[in-house]
Symmetry: C2
Amino acid sequence: MWQLLQFPLCPFSRKVRLLLGEKGIAYEPVRESPWQRRDEFLDLNPTGQTPVMIDAERHVTLIDSTVICEFFEETVNKNALLNGSAVDRAEIRRLVVWFDNNFYSDITAPLLHERMIKRIVYRQPPDAKALRDAMKAAVGHLDYIDYLLDHRTWLAGATMSLADITAAAQISVADYLGGIDWKSHELAKRWYIGMKSRPSFRQLLAERMEGITPPADYEKLDL
Amino acid sequence: MWQLLQFPLCPFSRKVRLLLGEKGIAYEPVRESPWQRRDEFLDLNPTGQTPVMIDAERHVTLIDSTVICEFFEETVNKNALLNGSAVDRAEIRRLVVWFDNNFYSDITAPLLHERMIKRIVYRQPPDAKALRDAMKAAVGHLDYIDYLLDHRTWLAGATMSLADITAAAQISVADYLGGIDWKSHELAKRWYIGMKSRPSFRQLLAERMEGITPPADYEKLDL
């Protein structure tokens, strides 16, 4: 069976877990805390980042969330998440890059640093200004999601795709860390409740990161 | 015809140009300087980054170098650059991510900032320590390329792939900016001379960024 090296608040591991769930691929989650920079993990993946997937029997190691998603999209037909024409697929991939890079660096990464790394590694309180900046950036990103959903049923077009999974994975971590305010983002909120209600998502939402409690609404389907 | 919005020292645009060259796809390069943050360009691509490709007749816009490469790999069969089994393709894509993210942030990005942006935008001299750190990081990356080539003919395996193109694109910009010392990296040097001698590469090497002169060896095939 596949092993997935990850930690509960890794947004890239969440993306992979949602894809594996949608496609019905069995895996065993294995806890890896990249900030500990374990030698064995760095030997496996020189970037030092989660997720990594291992099939020990077949001696296969897959590194990087986008690489992992492309691999399973190519090898498992069930529930295609890169649908449509080459142009449609380019739009899905553009949004995957947007949320993995821009949403992550504007919002998820600073929230993880302030509320998780500072607590676990440095035993410091979060910086109030960094938190405010991340929450302000989240409003801009929710505006963009509203704009997309004003034209489309799902973020990249007519069907649910890897773009929705990637966005929801990032948002779920930001939401866990108190960075999301749904006020005046009706379309984005309704879309996210739809994502949360999927069986692939329920399991993720039930997990907790030790020492960090999510807001009361985190798992709820009626925001 | 496709238009490619780019500037001469953009490593991601170079990656796309090398792929287009290998596949024999015609395009018109159009100069875009992302640091000017033109409104029209930001409307086209909210990330504000090059490359962007436009087919005005078919109303298609492609954003992000990896998205563009996947698009042409899917639509143009000639000279496949994501070759082999799903596992082979995962290894190619892993190295694309490695050079686009890690090589770029360790080496190309600081060199572009110190030697290009500071000159063009801020009219400041480069910071000597930042340059030294980037050149030191380059030694580590060349070590890794030597290690890969000790086991393989090309970076990801038996055939030339998008991994070679991505690495060569990053290295060529770092080399233009004086950040590469080939000393004691024989395998990497021989591989890079092989890449430089390809017709797709010759055209890139002939171009200049205004006000910035590359080292004497930059275009040479006998380092």
